[in-house]
């Protein structure tokens, strides 16, 4: 992202060269690896639930909330993916999301719910176009332009809200019309009963399924569809090949007659539109009105999900799910849930730190020692308290983002020319 920086620690070996169980895990690609990891995750969750008795860890309610909160993050991350795959870093996703929240509220209040969604996309795309203008046409540093976009998006949405929404000084819109939701009631009830049984693993699976068939918004389904569509377009079509080439080697693309500027521009506008849709989701599905400050940094969390997902839609979805989950825990006031998580977290940190120490690789020793110490501290905290302080739960999604990035950042590979300001005619 801050593209130029020299790798400060050697990146881990390419997947196919690692041995042992990491090698096997690495050899699985794409969805197979996701399935294995997801299953592993479910087992850990279930164990934690049973040991600590914090049932809201994976109750269907919590998972449904997690899904609903993952969606806007996934949209923001997908926006980031489109842009960065074309080589443009888009920090301005937050600003575009904010524009989307206003757009959704304005158009939905005046023209109906579906117009609201379109309005959200439109407003986000406008933000994207401005970013594209600055970075692609004028060659401004991507991050600076993104920061400026955030300022502008915030200001524009605030001003527009004050002008268009009566009452409450423009910080809030009136209630917005709803979009359809799907429920398969028979299945939902039956799964609900299994969930109540609280059996190890069985109840958890039931929770997962129940969350998917109860009160599911069509927009969430749309989001999944967009993820799949994005994958197909970017990796299976000529358009996508050219787009990716702009992010990997724009000079090579230029010598082959690809109009690099055009693809970058389109990608960034699409990126804005997706972020805008994410804002629309927040305004219309996650809640039912526009409120100032609604986005709460989810544009950035979406970027983190994208990085976590190694710039691929599948990984992005997993990352979004993770962050959406942490978001849901916070919103449901889950002091006991967070407290419960201290256990697996500290165990994981302990194992990881011990492994780093044992491996005795250059520089890893300090990191390993620090991890072990932190792990012991966290374990002690878990043992000595029974609940996570309510006021601190607000940190959860942000802390989770930091922790995830701290572990994951090293192993990733962004598009080679990501963040590089590209000017035509530089082929040597």
């Amino acid at each position: 992202m801050s593209a130029q920086i020299v790798q400060t620690e050697p990146a881990s070996p390419p997947v196919d060269q690692r041995t042992g169980w990491t090698g096997w895990l690495g050899s699985l690609v794409g969805w197979r690896r996701l399935v294995v990891l997801a299953s592993l995750g479910l087992v850990v969750l279930s164990l934690t639930r049973v040991i600590t008795g914090a049932n809201d860890i994976d109750s269907s309610g919590a998972l449904a909330a997690a899904l609903a909160l993952a969606a806007p993050i996934a949209l923001a991350g997908l926006g980031g993916l489109w842009s960065e795959r074309a080589g443009v870093v888009n920090i301005g996703l937050e600003g575009m999301m904010i524009l989307g929240t206003w757009g959704a509220a304005f158009f939905a209040s005046n023209y109906g719910p579906w117009a609201g969604l379109l309005g959200a996309i439109l407003m986000g795309a406008v933000g994207g176009a401005v970013h594209a203008l600055a970075t692609v046409v004028f060659g401004v540093d991507h991050i600076i332009s993104g920061v400026a976009l955030n300022l502008l998006g915030l200001g524009a949405a605030s001003y527009l809200a004050v002008r268009t929404f009566e009452g409450t000084g423009g910080t809030q819109s009136p209630s917005l019309p709803e979009l359809p939701r799907i429920t398969i009631s028979g299945l939902s009830d039956w799964l609900g009963e299994i969930e109540q049984g609280r059996t190890f693993l069985v109840a958890d699976v039931a929770s997962v399924l129940r969350a998917l068939v109860t009160n599911l918004s069509v927009v969430t389904v749309l989001v999944v569809g967009l993820l799949v569509l994005s994958w197909w377009i970017i990796w299976r079509t000529s358009f996508g090949l050219r787009l990716r080439s702009c992010g990997e080697s724009p000079t090579a693309a230029e010598t082959l007659g690809v109009n690099v500027y055009r693809y970058k521009f389109i990608a960034v506008v699409i990126s804005g539109g997706l972020a805008g849709l994410g804002g629309g989701f927040l305004a219309m599905v996650a809640s039912n009105l526009y409120r100032e400050g609604q986005t709460g940094g989810r544009g950035y969390i979406g970027l983190a999900a994208m990085i976590f997902g190694n710039w691929r839609p599948g990984g992005l979805a997993a990352g979004a799910g993770l962050f959406g989950y942490s978001d849901a825990i916070y919103l449901r006031g889950g002091g006991d849930v967070i407290h419960a998580f201290l256990l697996p977290f500290s165990v994981f940190l302990l194992l990881w730190g011990a492994w780093a120490l044992w491996r005795r690789r250059q520089g890893k020793r300090v990191v390993g020692l620090v991890s072990v110490l932190i792990a012991i501290g966290v374990l002690a905290w878990f043992a000595l308290t029974s609940i996570f302080p309510r006021e601190l739960t607000g940190m959860t999604p942000y802390l989770a983002t930091l922790i995830v990035l701290a572990f994951a950042s090293q192993r990733l590979r962004m598009p080679k020319a990501d963040g590089v300001v590209y000017r035509k005619g530089e082929a040597s």
């Binding site: 920090i91 600076i144 332009s145 002008r163 423009g170």
Partner: protein, 370 residues
């Protein structure tokens, strides 16, 4: 020969912000027209000559903005984006307020202690992002933003814990003892309101910033790393250490952002402590091109726009949120303008050098050894 280069370059450097401001005016006017708001009254209000007490308010706001922008600029010179100034200054102000509120030391020493605590807290908070970047490769853009949010929650939590119970709605730290108040300077005649005494701090920070970056070896290394990390590494700079130090330094200065407010106005840290100073700092640093004097002008411009727009609702019936748009457009157009001008400069200089060399060669005899 050199003076001619510099004058032209300065002219080019000024043209960018002026161009940007013109663009901002045009764009904002267009928005006003589209929204059906009175364009004339808006600009009339904003461009009116401020009353003396507003002048004081502008200077005071500029002081705080200046410190914030310098903090950001330190990072920018290294190609580091410290978006976390916001969180850093709040944690620092809180910590300073708590410590100074206890009044362990007499008068001025207490103030000094508060400043030191603020610098430590700010440096520490920024240091977390620095460590994450250097040892785990986490982008400082995202980590500082996350730390901002975490700081908000943390400070709110701690505030509740340490605030003395006063029964009123406003939660704040223990008020500073009288002897730790920094008196203001009555710089503007005709008004009782005074300029923050800690304007001295801002000036000091500016001078130190200019000195360190322009005159010291550390500053040379820092600027080199910002210009070309690879060349800096080959020249012997320890980049990891540099990144960490810069982030911490940026945080140390960020910690001082709230000090004029704390010691000169609020005398405590509460829930109403001014927010958002960090983001303004980013915009101002960009506007001022990270230059110690440029930032002064940019800070004043920003403060001017802020204060003048307060009256918009009353005089023009337009929400004061409009100023956010103006500011946003200024930032965007200024960065575009700077980029365009910079590239133009490079091309012009290449041409000049080539022409000058051609002229020199014409003076030299043919067949001179290469």
């Amino acid at each position: 020969m050199t003076s001619r280069f510099d004058l032209r370059r300065m002219g080019m450097a000024l043209s960018a912000p002026i161009l940007a401001i013109i663009v901002a005016v045009l764009v904002t006017s267009a928005i006003l027209v589209a929204a059906g708001d009175p364009v004339g009254e808006v600009w009339g209000t904003i461009l009116s000559v401020p009353r003396p007490r507003v002048v004081v308010a502008i200077i005071n706001a500029a002081i705080v903005y200046y410190i914030s922008a310098v903090a950001v600029a330190i990072g920018f010179r290294m190609n580091l984006f410290n978006i976390g100034v916001d969180g850093q200054y709040r944690i620092a102000a809180f910590a300073a307020a708590v410590v100074a509120g206890e009044g362990w030391l007499p008068g001025p020493l207490n103030i000094l202690l508060g400043l030191v605590v603020a610098m430590l807290a700010g440096g520490l908070w920024a240091g977390i992002a620095g460590l994450l970047k250097v040892y785990r490769g986490v982008s400082e853009v995202i980590s500082t933003i996350m730390l901002n949010a975490i700081a908000t929650v943390l400070v709110a939590f701690l505030l509740r814990k340490v605030a003395p119970q006063t029964g009123s709605n406003i939660v704040s730290t223990k008020p500073l003892p009288e002897s730790s108040h920094v008196s203001g300077l009555p710089l503007i005649p005709g008004v009782s309101r005074e300029v923050y005494g800690l304007i001295i701090l801002a000036v000091l920070i500016g001078v130190v910033y200019w000195f360190i970056l322009g005159r010291t070896r550390f500053g040379f290394d820092l600027r080199a790393t910002g210009r070309s990390e690879s060349a800096a590494v080959a020249s012997g700079v320890n980049v990891k250490r540099m990144v960490l130090l810069s982030m911490i330094l940026s945080g140390v200065v960020a910690g001082l952002v709230g000090m004029p407010l704390l010691f000169g106005q609020d005398y405590a840290y509460g829930t109403t402590f001014q927010p958002g100073l960090g983001f303004a700092g980013i915009a101002i640093a960009l506007l001022g091109r990270n230059h110690p004097v440029g930032i002064v002008f940019a800070a004043f411009l920003w403060a001017f726009l802020d204060q003048q727009s307060n009256a918009l609702q009353i005089t023009a019936g337009v929400s004061d949120r409009l100023v956010l748009i103006i500011q946003g457009v200024i930032v965007l157009s200024v960065v575009i303008a700077y980029e365009v001008v910079r590239r133009l400069n490079v091309r012009i200089e290449q041409r000049r050098v080539a022409q000058a060399l051609a002229a020199q060669a014409a003076d030299v005899k043919e067949g001179a050894p290469a």
